[in-house]
Symmetry: C2
Subunit: 147 residues, 2 copies
């Protein structure tokens, strides 16, 4: 499957980090010719950003990783995690829309490094995308979430 790059992420974050993304503001700079494709997106409070995780070497990808809240977590399938070391380095993040000007959409909370290539932007529709009652296995509950 081959896709085009529709734009690029601009923000101050140059190095990977596990968290601390909530306050990060990013400009999603679309290709000039795609500006009309953004029209009316500013009416949504949130969007789903689909991006290419471009800073993970392909040879670091693996099928299982040791992850979980145990002291010594066992290997688990990479598709059961949000690790970047997945078969296809595609990221999806729900972010808040701050404003749009021409071909630039400013958002908050995107966990992507400066320079990340963009693949898609979709409006967030709670009726389809929000499942507040979704359940996690015990090993995946983060301690800082109050568990």
């Amino acid at each position: 499957m081959t896709y085009v790059v529709i734009g690029v992420v601009r923000n101050p974050v140059r190095k990977s980090r596990p968290d601390g993304w909530d306050g990060v503001k990013s400009d999603l700079i679309l290709r000039d010719d795609l500006e009309p494709a953004l029209d009316a997106i500013e009416g949504f409070s949130h969007v789903i950003v689909v991006f290419h995780i471009d800073r993970v070497p392909r040879d670091e990808q693996r099928l299982q990783i040791a992850v979980g809240n145990e002291d010594e977590p066992p290997q688990r399938g990479v598709l059961a995690t949000r690790s970047q070391l997945r078969p296809n380095p595609i990221g999806t993040s729900v972010v808040r829309v701050l404003h749009r000007r021409k071909n630039v959409l400013r958002v908050q909370g995107l966990d992507a490094l400066d320079g990340t290539p963009l693949l898609d932007i979709k409006p967030y529709l709670p009726a389809y995308d929000s499942v507040p009652e979704a359940q996690l296995p015990v090993w995946a509950v983060r301690h800082e979430d109050g568990a």
Copy 2:
């Protein structure tokens, strides 16, 4: 950007339809070599499925489409909609996990046709993915949602 096909969707739906997907059960059949990557995913009640929308001809893609709940909706940016006619035909859907057996994950509610190529499966994490209070513009509120 080039990605590999990690598996395929199997379900009884052969023709596109705008809705009626809630009850559709699908088998996500992963490539045999990727079976270990699914380990532990059955502990999540919901996953995000990322797939290639393979039944939309590239020459039908456009920057704007007439969509909205008005009698005669104006043209709006395709990225402000969930239309399949977007620059990159990548779909993302939140679905319920029914069960997993070896390399097959059975899910409910996936809006993808039989034979659709799979790109990624991610666990749904409400802390990141659920925003029940997200706002829509008036034109995007569906009448059947009670608006």
